[in-house]
Point group: C2
Chain length 319, copies 2
């Protein structure tokens, strides 16, 4: 049984999904749908305007589109024609997105798995499972080490900055507090440090450092590290898109403190997000194959549906 | 809606389940079924021989019985009369247990959730999810810090040992290797250290230490720490049943290394195991309520069914 898949959207995420599908034992990639006529890929490329004519040749469509405008504007139309998996990450609007996709998918006999990836996605799953275990619990989510685009942009707007990147890094003392059951004491400013790597002429370093640490909203109130490095070191060490984080949940049971932690250390945020999305593609296929329709959050998907192995194999190997 | 629950078996686990149910917003505890006529509890106690007459007044029965003989001998009879949740932990025999429970439960319109707890249980869930994300991955499970009963018994058999406990502790270097993608190099002996706390007369310390570190199978080949302490310190610091561990999975995606880690740090192994079992009791009730029957592993249960909150609340809070 081969799952016939396709991709719409070809940015970082779409490229990572394409590469990931190549390594799946049970999937083939029918094509990439794009508004652009030419893409730098060996995969067949089709105009997104023609996508409906591929209804019967694609089992699962991966929506690799931006959450800001593309998903809100386009996702329901895709869900009307295909079973879909998206990584919509605007947390506050996920319930509305879920509802819209549920209607579009259910009306047309499709499955739409929404907001996969890692946060939302695997982190959501762990927040729900961990808090279900404790009658009352304290839960903290830490992000990083990861590139913050907004803060990196803010650095690059400073006069004299040639290159810059800002990593958000969870503070070890805050993580330890959460692990020890004291996560309620961790404040927003105290949870993360902001690490800046900057290329600039040496004569400007003092002024730039001062502008960074005194920048309101972005840096004031946080622990800030500023490192000046050469163009060469920047090019060698700071081109990646690492990310990750921790969901730490602690609760008291019969007088004892017990902590549950889920952590990710990712060298490539888009590659990992894509890998999660593709695994949920397998689940979307199987849910539809079982006669189910409508929207599903990661909280509703039975976990064994993610694996290429059969339930019998998993019960022997993992349980 | 209140879920009417009961417990069979009243050892450490049964007592922890009893305490846990008291703190659940949507459960009541009908009673404890035991072979013993008297138990030290305020909960109603009934003879296990009469359990079938409670079929219509109990929605979910928690099997708090030993995995060595009680579960294999008795569990299917309970599953014929009740929806059940167990913590059967003999990994190699779980597929056979699953099959036996599936038949017993399905034939009688019940649900049986098998092998909940944390390993098997939450660790199984994380092994499956994490390995589903990577086309190929390296996965290591570390246990501890936790009391090993077998090794503690071995210490207590040494002449002159008055009290002793052995903790199995994952080695930091092995955990770091697994996190860094080098888990394949971690050997059985290199993964854990064995920490012994012993009460004995001072004149015997050297001989006892020598007997410990040279004991074949149990200690030879491992990093071993032996600490001699007073009766008072032993009584104060070593009465608990801590446990926990790490499931670390790493995989390469498009040339980058990405690591997923699930960790538990438990002050009370039985209290936490019970808390997971009780959460799956909520799922058992809901699965049966939705018209499903037969055995379910933790891999098959949609995670939102564990939570007292509704799916709508979870989509707003956790996703």
């Amino acid at each position: 049984m081969t799952i016939r898949t396709a991709i719409v959207g070809y940015g970082n995420l779409g490229r990572s999904v394409e590469e990931n599908i190549r390594n799946q034992p049970d999937m083939e990639l029918v094509g990439i749908f794009s508004r652009r006529a030419e893409l730098d890929t060996d995969t067949p490329v089709y105009p997104v305007a023609d996508i409906d004519s591929y209804r019967d040749s694609v089992d699962v469509l991966f929506l690799c589109l931006g959450s800001a405008t593309d998903i809100p504007e386009q996702a329901t139309a895709f869900a009307a024609s295909f079973s879909t998996v998206d990584t919509y990450d605007n947390h506050k609007k996920i319930p509305a997105h879920y509802e819209a996709m549920d209607e579009a998918a259910a009306d047309n006999g499709n499955v739409a798995i929404v907001s996969t990836g890692w946060d939302p996605g695997l982190f959501s799953l762990n927040r729900t499972i961990a808090s279900s275990i404790f009658p009352t619990s304290q839960q903290n989510t830490f992000w990083g080490k990861g590139v913050s685009q907004g803060h990196s942009d803010a650095l690059r707007r400073i006069d004299g900055v040639k290159k810059a990147v800002q990593y958000t890094i969870p503070r070890e003392d805050a993580i330890e507090a959460a692990r020890g059951g004291h996560g309620a004491d961790v404040t927003g400013h105290g949870a993360h440090l902001r690490q800046c790597w900057v290329v600039a002429d040496e004569s400007e370093h003092d002024r730039i450092r001062e502008e960074i640490v005194t920048m309101p909203d972005y840096f004031v109130g946080y622990e800030v590290e500023v490192h000046f490095i050469s163009q060469e070191d920047f090019a060698r060490d700071h081109q990646g898109l690492p990310h990750g984080g921790h969901v730490i949940t602690s609760g008291t049971l019969g007088g004892t403190t017990n902590a549950v932690e889920f952590s990710l250390a990712l060298e490539s945020n888009p590659d990992f997000t894509a890998a999660v999305q593709v695994a949920y593609g397998r689940a979307a296929y199987r849910l539809k194959d079982a006669g189910l329709t409508g929207a599903f959050s990661v909280l509703e998907v039975p976990p064994y549906l993610l694996a290429p192995e059969s339930l019998e194999e998993l019960l022997t190997r993992d349980v």
